[in-house]
Symmetry: C2
Subunit: 359 residues, 2 copies
């Protein structure tokens, strides 16, 4: 079992990554709990909930709730329904909530845990590669109709238990989406591990050893950054590398029509291109482009409007000539946050999108 410890203001927690963790759950709980409540979704529930319940019932009274899969469950409605369910299940301040699922479940269950009786313990059991990112760092939230993650807290889990077996049931698109964030982590930190990813072929089945190693590398970078900046005052913004354009593409396409990681992949290529031009340097744009292509990341952006993307990328969407804030690389592994004129970004984006379509 590979393990990484994350230090926070409220104490430390371990991120454990291994196969068959779900069958060793009760040894891995940070303490004993009289009551445990598992929150999962309609995709993950049928696959892994029984294993988790069986294991937890050896040591605790256990209840659970299954919410519909998809971002729609990260809503005020499901949040309050879950509150009612855990009250009825008799959870008190000494109880535990387990988030069994991807980022949506981690965010939702974590926000429930952070605000039930002013905060009770919770554990993340991520079941996607993408969640290696969201399960570490203590960001929990639900969405508001006006925007994603507008309602939430900083609230740390008591442990992250990552059973890599659960990743083999992921559809290929979700594997691609998760690996895009691993690629991001491989590029932005002073110990870049991009070289170790280059040869990976996502179209072939991934073995557990490989998964454990790549996840640990990604989590290591995430940990280094969130430990420096738990509350997103400074360097934590570097985690947004590739996300300025990525988020804009996601929103323009409509959530669900492109995965988060697929959008971020395009966003990272653009951020590399802008970095090269802004700092007049050479970065591994071509290498990264080829890797994404070989692994079938979708690059069909021809239908997207540059003007609309630029509007979404602006910090203040109502201001006509406001700046765009982007995380760029001064060299591989060294981030910086730069304010750019939207006219410059518009020109670069037009060229970049032509290039992407014509290649």
């Amino acid at each position: 079992m590979k393990s990484i410890q994350v230090m926070t203001k409220d104490g430390a927690y371990d991120v454990n990554v291994d196969s068959e963790l779900r069958f060793r759950l009760h040894e891995l709980l940070p303490k004993s709990y009289r009551k445990v409540f598992v929150i999962t979704d309609s995709t993950v529930g049928p696959l892994y909930l029984d294993d988790v319940l069986t294991e937890l019932r050896k040591v605790s009274e256990v209840d659970y709730s299954i919410v519909p899969a998809g971002e729609g469950s990260k809503s005020s409605r499901f949040y309050f329904n879950l509150m009612t369910e855990i009250i009825n299940a008799g959870l008190d301040r000494d109880s535990l909530i387990v988030a069994l699922g991807g980022g949506m479940i981690g965010d939702l269950a974590g926000f429930v845990a952070s605000t039930y009786m002013r905060g009770i313990d919770f554990i993340q059991m991520p079941t996607t590669i993408l969640a290696h990112d969201s399960s570490v760092g203590g960001k929990v939230a639900i969405n508001h109709p006006e925007g994603k993650n507008l309602i939430g807290s900083f609230y740390q889990p008591k442990a992250v238990l990552y059973d890599v077996d659960t990743l083999h049931t992921l559809p290929l698109r979700e594997i691609r989406s998760g690996y895009a964030e691993i690629v991001k982590h491989s590029l932005i930190h002073p110990t870049p591990f991009w070289d170790q990813l280059k040869s990976l072929n996502l179209n072939q089945p991934l073995d557990n050893e490989r998964l454990v190693s790549d996840l640990i590398n990604g989590i290591h970078v995430k940990r280094e950054i969130v430990q420096q900046d738990e509350f997103e005052q400074n360097v934590r913004q570097y985690l947004n590398f590739g996300h300025t354009l990525g988020h804009a593409i996601e929103a323009e396409r409509g959530y669900g029509h492109i995965t988060h990681g697929e959008a971020v992949a395009i966003g990272m290529l653009f951020a590399l291109r802008v970095s090269e031009q802004h700092f007049n340097i050479q970065l591994p744009f071509d290498e990264l482009y080829r890797w994404f292509k070989q692994n079938n990341y979708p690059f069909d952006v021809s239908d997207l409007s540059v003007t609309r993307l630029i509007t979404r990328m602006k910090k203040d969407k109502k201001a006509k000539n406001s700046a765009i804030q982007m995380v760029l690389l001064k060299q591989l592994g060294e981030c910086t946050s730069v304010r750019l004129e939207d006219n410059d970004v518009t020109l670069w984006l037009e060229t970049f999108m032509r290039e992407l379509v014509n290649n």
Copy 2:
């Protein structure tokens, strides 16, 4: 201006108590804010909102919302409505929320602030005596139909600005309610100040000097306890002195039919009586009883059922013979938490209620 500094895990904040503070607001803000949003209720709004808005508009863009007075506004519905309003008002992570009102407003606005964009700054401007208690210590929450304050956080204000002028418009019942918590603070801490309260007559108009002094004394005790135990792991429970029976009476009478402090007054007398019997000591029960009587605290408990009160006082309401946890005094100023058999408490409560009615 009297000032007390409260140390918390997330930094320190000042509690300032004085008259006319609302006209010096902009000097007292901890930093400058581009946007400020004031949350108040339909009782306080007509009286003091204009003063506050006028003052804040000297330095910021200001919006506000007025919710109906009363505990009903501490609900998920008003919570989400406020979220929508502050999103539409364009509040970002560098904005400020001001809670102008009593404990209900402080709890509601504080919970909004603690969960909007994972937490933005907020300031408490208490307008009741009771709120000297709730505005210090960082407990914020809304109610769930199944119970009070079940959804909330620990989240510290950036400042508490207490304008004692606003207390002169309080109805007498609210003055009594607030002073009951000051009396509580006067009894439970190693520097008891009960002697200074004895001569006070609440039926006469209170002068500002007296109010400032009593509030500062109460807040001092609250601060000492919450600094020792920010997250309610141990000594913070001493603040529940008088609340075991107090909460039970409030719930039995129905919220709104007896004020919080009036119920706690009866609860404190009972806790003194139990302390005397449990530890075989003498405490100033008679003195306190006389003071409450002189100040017209209502003691008509003859219609309440001892059995029903006992059920409500039990930690586990479903268990038949479970223990009751009460905070008792070993001597004036020294608290301890004791588990008592419900049979013992029943006998004491029957005697106590007869005594209260017959006197």
